[in-house]
Symmetry: C2
Subunit: 453 residues, 2 copies
């Protein structure tokens, strides 16, 4: 009764991404200009992104071809394995079937290269010389560093200052690929200097780091900005995960009743879930539920407001309608750094509002405990972010046990935890606590939301 792997051959790797905008019952709310509050045009975004990514951002084509060169690099680690977690099922003594898609075999150990590679590619062919970005835990910055090395692009990563100091190994990893890593807030940008003037000891946030990276990009025509989640084109690139999973489940002769993913900016959840949500929207498969798990310490979907907000602290990005805790919200220092963003992908927020996805929040202690149970049964130690999906899946499996029903549960194991051993060290030493925010605390940041329309 060992765990089973379902592996596709290389020629079964998808040659297109799936664009859920083609199947939405109603279109997303429009994106607004940060200065004028009016509808944004593709031209407004050109200082930030190459045109092909802007076109993907607004496209309603159902399938968008993956360029041959991107496919060629994907093939270094894709198709990734789908596992039937039979040892975990046995350890939980559940009648449920548990499947997980594993994205940890990429060069950076997570799903992030799925979008870093095409972003670097489209920038390269558009003549970009340098990419700026932000990173929290470091997964995204690492992936863009690898992609930059592949395509000969300079990469500058504004890394949230607290992570810069707490995670020197992540920094060393990015620098190994030739990226330049700057602690944010920094003195290199006006946004950074302004924050430092007001709060000299600021430990930074993703919102601030985004402001710095965007500011640097708009100043120079050969420099563009890259974002590791939130945007439509990023979610699009991640759908390679779910498309592969559909084919792998067909090999297994199965189809999920429940799909679970963790959500920070929303891209790994979208990656596994959107192809299945699309099938549901098109009426092909009805009886399937989707669970988005977020940390209780950054409860964007469960306690945030669905409203227009900025993506960054200095309000340089466009305004988007999303679930948000307010762009001034600075989440507590939980170890799942990839899930600490004040907002959520507007596309996923829209889908949650349509009632297609159920959000849930868990404290980090329960998530680490679930991650260790998973590791001992399945052998893979998950990243702290992925532990949220593991916890969500285990809870569904235990509910099946209580109710005596066998359901098929699928979750996305978006990365391994080999870079996150400080988190596991602290957890095992009993040093971690669960932090939640009161509605008053959340209300304060929300009071600063922009007034729109």
């Amino acid at each position: 009764m060992d765990t089973i792997k379902y592996l596709l051959s290389e020629n079964q790797m998808p040659d297109s991404w799936y664009n859920i905008q083609a199947d939405l019952p109603e279109p997303m709310p429009p994106v607004l200009h940060p200065g004028t509050g009016k509808l944004i045009t593709p031209g407004d975004l050109e200082p930030l992104f190459p045109m092909q990514l802007i076109e993907q951002e607004v496209s309603t084509e159902r399938f968008i071809e993956i360029p041959e060169q991107v496919q060629s690099i994907y093939r270094q680690w894709r198709p990734t394995p789908l596992y039937r977690a039979r040892r975990l099922e046995k350890a939980l003594d559940t009648p449920a079937k548990i499947y997980y898609k594993y994205e940890g075999t990429s060069p950076a150990g997570s799903h992030k290269p799925n979008t870093a590679i095409p972003q670097a590619y489209y920038n390269k062919i558009a003549g970009t010389k340098r990419l700026t970005t932000e990173t929290g835990a470091g997964q995204w910055g690492s992936s863009l560093a690898v992609a930059g090395a592949f395509f000969g692009l300079d990469v500058e990563v504004y890394m949230v200052k607290v992570s810069y100091h707490q995670k020197p190994y992540r920094r060393a990893f990015m620098e190994s690929y030739g990226a330049r890593v700057i602690a944010s807030p920094s003195n290199e940008t006006e946004s950074g200097r302004k924050i430092l003037q007001e709060y000299p000891n600021s430990t930074g946030s993703l919102g601030i780091a985004i402001s710095e990276a965007v500011e640097m990009a708009v100043q120079d025509a050969e420099t563009k900005y890259a974002l590791g989640s939130v945007l439509n084109h990023v979610l699009l690139h991640q759908t390679v995960i779910g498309i592969e999973t559909l084919a792998q489940l067909e090999m297994a002769g199965d189809y999920p009743d429940i799909i679970v993913g963790c959500t920070g900016g929303g891209s790994n959840f979208a990656g596994i879930a959107f192809p299945f949500i699309g099938a549901k929207l098109r009426g092909e498969k009805q009886d399937i539920n989707f669970v988005a798990v977020e940390p209780a310490a950054c409860p964007t979907l469960t306690k945030g407001k669905y409203a227009y907000d900025f993506g960054d602290t200095a309000h340089l990005t466009p305004m988007v309608k999303m679930h948000t805790l307010g762009s001034t919200f600075i989440p507590t220092g939980i170890h799942a750094g990839g899930l600490r963003y004040h907002g959520m992908a507007p596309l996923l927020s829209h889908i949650v509002e349509l009632g297609l996805v159920e959000p849930k929040a868990y404290g980090q202690l329960d998530c680490f405990a679930a991650g260790l149970s998973f590791a001992r049964a399945e052998g893979i130690l998950p990243a702290p972010e992925a532990n949220h999906a593991v916890k969500g899946a285990i809870d569904e499996a235990l509910r099946c046990k209580e109710e005596g029903v066998s359901k098929t549960i699928l979750f996305n194991l978006c990365g391994h935890g080999h870079f996150d051993m400080q988190a596991y060290t602290d957890y095992q030493a009993g040093l971690l606590v669960d932090l939640e925010y009161s509605s008053e605390e959340i209300g304060m940041a929300l009071a600063g939301l922009p007034v729109v329309g």
Copy 2:
């Protein structure tokens, strides 16, 4: 011109290991009892190992079946990919073809689970309840921790004290799987106490840690000892690497002129090379060279003596004929902790003596530089141990360029460096130096070799 992956399907995974003892032109020198100096019997080894592993240790059968349950677990990450490093070839501007087999996709990130899983399996079916072992850098201890979790065996790891303190993340990783990790020398064993009495500040060595693990195992019938390299059965288990590679090169329509591997205890080198050396010994393929790369700071094959010696410091293990720097040799603290053993696998030593393998030694600075070039071209950041193989392969490729010949070079990329970021941090900060030993220094440890026969 991207890197190409050659992947076997699951049913092409080998169902037997290859035992090079079947093809040796002359048998290995015998193993001697540590107390009597006489030939050792299988019964002498029974306190340490289950009988099926002892049988593998002395077998001369060419193929030994991989148990179904071991195959089933191997399949979680095997067959592993073989890559044609076309981006690296381009970066080096070499006419050579470079292939690398990648073992970093295992749950522990290295080739070590290839033997940890069968060792745990044979112990489990023999009724063992607890395994003791030693670990230097932590790769082996991590792998045995995972294997112990799979088979419900308690695992106790004596970790070289300097690594225990320098690599807390490795310790946390092992503990995540439920293993108990003890800094060696410890107060838990007589060997440990004796060392501590004489050298209270001892930072330990693999030789000492082996003494402690062996001492604990022999005291209790339900406890056995597991070793991560050096022994014949360990090298046997690793041949799954080379057997897969043979099939993958057949897919590629190629055959290597040169095979490169790094050597600490010898198991990853044996894993990739033995199936090819066997083909050479059987006269199937003649024109192929084998290069074993070791660190200049622990030059067992290049500066050691081929002589009988103990595997451990307290002289509890049998005596074996091998290349050795003397069991009291304490190598300097280079970051390739997996290559810091005073001895070498007797089987590999024998094969080196037969003139079948050419040993080479490199300083760590050149190896780190090679590892970074590799990472930027191929995307994967190698473990410091693996960097020695990378450096060896790059040197061969550059020689091809100089000589204007196209050769086919194969090397084993035995693990990723995600756990070794302190090493890369130190290297990039210019904090590392190359250390070599004078012949006098090496002579001192060698003077203590046992007198045999």
